[in-house]
């Protein structure tokens, strides 16, 4: 069967502005969108640029905007779309486009760095002592958040990042913070929470739930942000009581 793809193109060396190219690909219902993009590159236009690596939804390289929704090209199959009309492939929103479907992810990774305080690190050595004890229930507290693959889809759909506060630290970084704050083994969580309270931090989030809707790993991102907010508030209250 033949399916048409309308693909976003931009070459910084040649183009002032982006345009769209249409490619018709011979494919099957169970084929991945990524397979089709590869067919375009190997058979029709080798100058089409997009990132990929593991091809099964664990490395986070190939998040794209497919029919207006951020998705992993390796996780979506032809049958997931209305393939009788064109499937539209665009780069992720929010980030600046470097070439075709490739965006500059530096702002994404920089936001993860912002969460790192200058704590003294443990030496990188094999240890004589045994592991920390952690109950199954304590692990469950943050288990959902370790599924994150840093694909950037959540940021690319967040109305705060896109419209009201482009400096917003964003759902992925907040999820990463949650992962450590709710890990019973981590000690200095107060400092971590202080970092989140800075400008463009956690309070910029207005719970639009868009991140939760698009997360390719089905992480309940908004829920984790709300839980972190509650924890910060609780700490503030208990501090006030201490002051009394």
């Amino acid at each position: 069967m033949k399916v048409s793809f309308k693909v976003f193109r931009f070459d910084p060396k040649k183009d002032e502005k982006h345009h769209y190219d249409t490619f018709v690909v011979e494919t099957k219902l169970n084929e991945r969108i990524l397979d089709c993009l590869n067919k375009i590159r190997s058979k029709q236009d080798s100058s089409l640029s997009f990132r990929m690596s593991c091809s099964h939804g664990i490395c986070g390289s190939d998040a794209l905007t497919i029919n207006r929704v951020p998705s992993l090209a390796c996780q979506k199959l032809i049958k997931d779309y209305n393939y009788t009309s064109e499937i539209i492939i665009e780069p992720l929103r929010f980030y600046s486009v470097i070439k075709d479907l490739i965006v500059d992810l530096d702002p994404f990774f920089k936001r993860l760095e912002k969460l790192k305080n200058d704590e003294k690190r443990k030496p990188i050595n094999k240890l004589e002592k045994r592991e920390n004890i952690q109950s199954i229930e304590d692990l469950k507290q943050f288990e959902d958040s370790i599924k994150c693959i840093l694909c950037g889809s959540c940021v690319a759909t967040c109305p705060i990042s896109l419209e009201t506060d482009p400096e917003f630290i964003g759902p992925a970084a907040l999820l990463r913070a949650y992962r450590y704050i709710f890990d019973s083994r981590i000690k200095n969580i107060n400092e971590k929470m202080l970092l989140l309270e800075k400008a463009h931090g956690i309070w910029s989030c207005k719970s639009h739930y868009k991140c939760t809707l698009v997360c390719p790993k089905q992480i309940k991102v908004t829920k984790t942000i709300l839980k972190t907010k509650r924890k910060i508030r609780e700490r503030a209250v208990s501090k006030r009581h201490e002051g009394d």
Binding site: S53, K99, E113
Partner: protein, 574 residues
């Protein structure tokens, strides 16, 4: 652009990051990767990391060492296997203290499960030795290490492709490559270079490996005129999803999954009566293909069934959620309701760049070291895994030998002065880029690559023979000729992946050639290397490591003895 560091690590997988983190305690270090650091193929490691913690039942490092050596069909260097088994528990403990979210048992300790070839009391019964974080073990280790790199402010050079090692005064003194974003040549001037470039599964048509596993470190080493070791030993994982090659973790069998042929027989009872589905991977892969070749594939097709229905939905979702989810996505199958079509898929390279147990690269059979050059992880051959690696021994290899390599590389950097770079190093990259971009030949990267992948899958797979290997060698020679007649249709400079794929293809061709030649020369069957024309293991002639290199005259092989200490080779049965 020239960057200067004490240690430069090429490759941002788990081995590379552990090495960098360890080295950063003593000196300046940076990681260079052709993809973003968190995208490396280490993240795809599912099932677990082996260590004799004994959290579930009695376990000892001696048993782990024995299993590793026996699993490797006695080609493992036993000093290396001993280090691996002894240091594994301390390394897992380190990972846990860094924050890896291991699954827990009811006592709150790291939970452990069975895995292929890991046994109690020197081969008696399966033992629970695999520590894991559901089936996201690699991903979760990677995430913690990445955060650790950010906290230690280790500079990460993402999306830089390295195509040459630099040597002067008999020292490796850096690497040269280009920025994939815009084709700017980049030189790294270093006291020591660590290769952590992973495997080369992409030379096969069906592989569990991601697109980035193209054997770049093997290519860099061969191009420098150095040897690779034991390249004929390639692991085919028995349970790749049919047609796609994506892995269904061994954990699925550890949790109770059963392999069945078209007659609904549990055929592993025939091939490995004691360990059955938890026999080592080489044995199960041969069993599956024997069933298929003898007409007992499902409906005569080239796959068998992996039946997970007896495990129960809750356990499946708790223990192997990722696997269950992509079986659903790609096959449309609910694994708790229907069996999963599986077939062997190219998975892991036991061989690689020869190193000692400090990660130093060896340049001959007398164990002379290449000054300033290190290798670690899948691209290295210490040799721990011998002729066949056990599941979960890869992740632990990365950590144990990553620490050792990081320590040794930083000490080397402290001890010796910087060697100056050869002249005009940036020109090396510039010339290569111009040469490839302006070449006007007739062959496309994609055509040559597809031919290579088909060829390796047909002629150099699980079952091999002299005739096919010699044919393959000839065909690779032809493909190399075609490669010299290349044309790129894209001559852009920004994210030109066709250009990158051309560089990778050169590495793939050279890697494939070294594999096929080593396999052709080894006239016996051992571990993952099975010759239908020489079906027996022959210790008197072949209990030795292969070294292979290529120069202008062609390929050459050399051999050197295996280090044997505690365990004398005996016939391998499971």
């Amino acid at each position: 652009m020239i960057y200067t560091y004490d240690v430069v690590v090429i490759g941002g997988g788990i081995a590379g990051l552990i090495t960098a983190l360890k080295a950063s305690e003593k000196c300046s270090v940076s990681v260079v990767s052709k993809i973003h650091v968190t995208r490396s193929h280490s993240v795809a490691a599912q099932g677990g990391i082996a260590a004799s913690l004994g959290n579930e039942e009695e376990d000892r490092w001696e048993w782990h060492m024995f299993d590793t050596v026996k699993g490797g069909d006695y080609l493992s260097d036993q000093n290396a296997a001993e280090i691996l088994a002894k240091e594994a528990p301390g390394c897992v403990s380190m990972l846990e203290h860094l924050g890896v979210p291991f699954s827990r048992n009811s006592n709150g300790k790291i939970q452990q499960r069975r895995f292929g070839g890991h046994t109690q009391n020197f081969g008696e019964v399966p033992v629970k030795r695999a520590c894991y974080a559901a089936d996201r073990t690699g991903r979760t280790i990677m995430d913690v290490l990445y955060d650790e790199c950010l906290m230690r402010k280790i500079p990460l050079h993402n999306e830089v492709f390295i195509h040459n090692l630099l040597f002067s005064e008999n020292n490796c003194c850096g690497v040269v490559g280009y920025d994939i974003r815009d084709c700017t040549p980049i030189v790294f001037h270093a006291k020591t270079v660590v290769l952590a470039t992973g495997g080369a599964g992409r030379i096969f048509k069906t592989t569990s490996n991601g697109y980035s596993s193209t054997g770049d470190g093997f290519g860099l080493t061969l191009n420098a005129g150095l040897f690779l070791q034991d390249m004929e030993f390639i692991q085919f994982h028995p349970t790749g999803i049919f047609g796609l090659g994506i892995l269904v973790s061994e954990a699925a069998r550890a949790e109770g999954g059963i392999l069945r042929n078209n007659n609904n027989e549990r055929f592993m009872l025939k091939y490995a009566p004691s360990l059955k589905e938890l026999a080592p991977r080489d044995i199960i892969s041969r069993a599956i293909l024997t069933e298929i070749n003898e007409g007992r594939g499902i409906n005569g097709e080239k796959y068998v069934f992996l039946d997970l229905r007896n495990i129960g939905k809750d356990t499946l979702l708790e223990k192997i959620p990722e696997v269950i989810s992509f079986i659903q996505t790609y096959m449309g199958i609910s694994a708790n309701e229907a069996p999963v079509p599986v077939a062997p898929t190219c998975h892991y390279f036991m061989g690689g760049i020869p190193t000692n147990t400090k990660g130093q690269v060896l340049i001959d059979k007398n164990h002379t070291i290449a000054r300033g050059l290190y290798a670690v992880g899948e691209c290295a051959c210490v040799s721990i895994h011998g002729a066949n690696r056990l599941g979960c021994n890869s992740l632990i290899d990365l950590v144990v030998f990553g620490l050792r390599t990081g320590k040794s590389a930083s000490m080397y950097s402290k001890k010796y002065n910087r060697v100056s770079l050869p002249v005009e190093t940036e020109k090396i990259s510039e010339n290569k880029l111009i040469f490839l971009l302006e070449k006007k030949g007739n062959s496309s990267v994609y055509n040559i690559r597809e031919n290579l992948q088909n060829l390796m899958t047909e002629k150099c797979n699980v079952f091999r023979d002299g005739q096919n290997l010699s044919l393959a060698l000839h065909k690779i020679y032809e493909l190399k000729k075609k490669y010299s007649d290349l044309i790129l249709n894209d001559n852009g400079t920004h994210f030109n992946y066709e250009l990158q794929e051309a560089f990778e293809l050169e590495n793939m061709l050279k890697t494939a050639e070294s594999i096929v030649y080593s396999a052709f020369k080894r006239k016996e069957s051992r571990g993952a290397h099975f010759r239908t024309d020489f079906p027996e293991r022959e210790d008197t002639k072949w209990l030795k490591h292969t070294l292979v290199a290529s120069n202008l005259q062609g390929l050459k092989v050399n051999y050197f003895p295996v280090k044997i200490s505690r365990f004398q080779p005996v016939k391998r049965k499971y």
